[in-house]
């Protein structure tokens, strides 16, 4: 397989090259410190495998990857140092990556996956995997500040770390918020405003002064004769929008094309 290496640090490039040289089936056909030159070279003669550093000064590795032609997209192995949110995105993605620092053992483990993909994947597969990864990374960058994947809550005397994506309804209750999942109700020490921040990764809609609803769990929407919205979530809980929030709820539902006549 023909390999290209793109990294703006010479020593980092040498490390990858040395690892590649120990593999009999790899030929390094190009090494670039400047992403723009690299882009031209890749377009002119696409390699099979591309080792691509993400954090480069003049152009991010992700931008470079996005600029590549779909039909001749190489197998990309991203190299990154530290970004917790990026790691979470990589873990669920079909795109390979290496964490700095890495040693021979880790390089070989990644290479084994690359070889399998080389035999099985089409450029179309690679392209959709790459697009999904980049979208995930961009969404991660938007919500990372306050979002929490888990919140601590109590039900009776039992304490739970709830996955925010499972929570259907959040309701204010004096110094607490009530979190509803299915038929279970949990209490967390928080205000509704703090909860709103923790739940930033979820499509939460405020339907009254004291109630947020996770739209990804809504199963049914109807209206009362007065025009208030009645929302039913998967777990069966029913909530009604208040007069003051009728209009924002209507606009939100209209955007989703969910509003009943």
């Amino acid at each position: 397989m023909e390999v290209m290496i793109v990294d703006d640090e010479p020593v980092a490039r040498r490390t990858v090259r040395e690892c590649c040289e120990r593999e009999p089936d790899l030929t390094v056909v190009g090494e670039y410190g400047d992403p723009r030159t690299a882009l031209e070279a890749i377009r002119a003669r696409p390699p099979h495998v591309l080792f691509l550093d993400i954090q480069m000064d003049s152009m991010s590795g992700l931008t470079l990857a996005r600029s590549l032609d779909r039909e001749t997209l190489p197998l990309i192995v991203f190299i990154t140092a530290y970004d917790q949110y990026a790691l979470e995105a990589f873990e669920v993605s079909a795109v390979d990556y290496l964490l700095k620092p890495f040693d021979e053992a880790r390089f070989r483990a990644t290479l084994a996956r690359v070889r399998r993909r080389h035999d099985a994947d089409s450029p179309g597969d690679r392209h959709s995997a790459l697009a999904a990864l980049i979208e995930q990374l961009e969404r991660g960058a938007r919500v990372r500040a306050e979002a929490q994947p888990r919140v601590l809550a109590e039900a009776g005397s039992r304490m739970h770390m709830l996955d925010v994506s499972q929570v259907e309804v959040v309701e204010a209750d004096r110094n607490y918020v009530r979190l509803i999942i299915g038929r279970e109700t949990y209490h967390a020490r928080s205000t509704l405003q703090q909860a709103e921040k923790s739940f930033q990764s979820q499509p939460m809609l405020r339907i009254s002064r004291s109630c947020l609803i996770n739209m990804s769990h809504v199963r049914e929407v109807s209206r009362t004769p007065r025009g208030d919205f009645i929302l039913v979530v998967a777990g069966g809980t029913t909530v009604t929008s208040s007069e003051g929030f009728r209009e924002p709820v209507r606009q939100y539902l209209e955007r989703l094309k969910l509003a009943p006549a």
Partner: protein
């Protein structure tokens, strides 16, 4: 309306008394999520005060009408002429006064009580402005209804009282003064009621806000306590790696990678309050394996499998200070082998984590250190009375550090999703 102004909503008032009576809109429950400039929402926030004042005013109107009616009834029995205005005239009086009452209340609350020397005359002016209009409103009511009560109130009577200054001075002024004093008292009660209610609202809000602030502080405090890898350990590890570079290059490379993993996990865990127990165990394993490389064959480690208690969560990096202490404490003062064992046990909604280490004979002295104080403090902040930490000599010449805390588990049973890799 200033209700939706985030400047005001977000501000922590130094004292709730200081701004007890600002604009009505700003008094009501502040809520950053209200859409900006949404007049409907702003109007809604006035509701509680309006309801209180309206209820009060209905009470005043009813009591005045009933009082006048019953007094008149008893006077009529004594064959006296009508002295009290009829009930419908009084009702009209109170209806006319209702908007005036609301207006002067609103004005009075905007004025507030600071500074006192300026506020008191203004407040009195407000109250007088309202009370002075009480009697004329009754006259207006009587004028509007006098057609229906021709027998008591003839047009000439009206002209007699209101037509000349003398008639006015002898008939109306004493009644007017009496009505002013009576309505001043009513006004005072109303003002006290709505201010008390507003004060209660503000107190409740400030309690909510201070609870929120306290939580934010606690969170910042906990974050500071989490970063606990001692610099001593870090630099010793770097030094070991430096020595290995020439001696055993592959081992040096492997150590660098392991140290990278350790630091990455440390940073990750430092950013969140809780981690899965399995991730915590993996972290201490990584840490202990690095220490094993430093001390070659002296160190034996036993850590439960990652799969043990897979659904349990613990405060991030809570085990690390104990393990670090066990290494330092176990290796000190002798040249022999050391065993470090980590145990995790769940019993009736309680999780117990223990770190045991062998020590040199006769070295079972007290255990201290900033790391352990931090562990105790974090457990207390997080769980209060429901958690505990102690350390001391155990059986078989082992040193035992033990903490117990409420078991934190995933959400509803059967809904747990498989999650890979680092702490979710």
């Amino acid at each position: 309306m200033r209700a939706a102004d985030p400047e005001i909503s977000g501000k922590m008032s130094a004292s709730p008394l200081e701004r007890i009576t600002p604009a009505l809109g700003a008094l009501t429950r502040q809520d950053a999520a209200l859409p900006r400039g949404d007049t409907l929402a702003s109007a809604l926030t006035l509701r509680p005060q309006l309801a209180v004042l309206t209820a009060f005013w209905i009470y005043v109107a009813l009591s005045n009408v009933l009082y006048a009616n019953s007094m008149q009834a008893s006077f009529s029995n004594m064959k006296m002429e009508r002295v009290f205005a009829p009930w419908d005239a009084r009702l009209i009086q109170h209806l006319v006064l209702y908007p005036l009452f609301l207006l002067s209340m609103w004005r009075s609350m905007r004025t507030g009580w600071q500074p006192l020397w300026r506020a008191i005359p203004l407040q009195l002016l407000c109250a007088l402005g309202f009370a002075v209009l009480a009697s004329p409103s009754l006259v207006l009511g009587e004028y509007l209804t006098h057609e229906w009560h021709r027998e008591e109130w003839t047009h000439s009577d009206f002209v007699k009282t209101w037509g000349s200054w003398q008639g006015f001075a002898t008939h109306e002024i004493p009644i007017w003064v009496a009505s002013i004093t009576s309505f001043l008292v009513t006004y005072g009660f109303g003002l006290a009621l709505v201010m008390g209610f507003t004060f209660y609202q503000r107190l409740r809000d400030s309690q909510l806000r201070s609870a929120a602030l306290e939580r934010a502080l606690t969170r910042a405090h906990l974050a500071a306590l989490r970063m606990q890898l001692s610099p001593h350990t870090l630099f010793n590890l770097l030094h070991t790696i430096r020595g290995q570079i020439a001696w055993d290059p592959p081992a040096a490379q492997a150590m660098v990678v392991q140290l990278g993993d350790l630091l990455r996990r440390l940073l990750n865990a430092g950013e969140r309050e809780f981690s899965r127990l399995s991730d915590e165990l993996q972290f201490v394993t990584l840490y202990l394996e690095l220490q094993q490389r430093r001390f070659a064959d002296r160190l034996t480690i036993e850590v439960p499998a990652r799969e043990a208690h897979a659904r349990a969560w613990v405060p991030s990096l809570i085990l690390q200070p104990l393990v670090e202490n066990a290494v330092v404490h176990g290796l000190a003062g002798h040249e022999g082998a050391v065993t470090i064992r980590v145990e995790a046990r769940v019993e009736s909604e309680e999780l117990t984590l223990r770190v045991l280490n062998t020590v040199a004979p006769g070295k079972l002295a007290g255990l201290s250190g900033i790391g352990l104080a931090n562990v105790r403090e974090r457990l207390t902040v997080q769980f209060g009375e429901r958690a505990g930490f102690d350390a001391g000599p155990g059986a078989d010449g082992l040193w035992v550090a033990q903490m117990r805390m409420p078991l934190l588990r995933d959400g509803p049973e059967g809904m747990a999703r498989p999650e890979g890799g680092a702490a979710a």
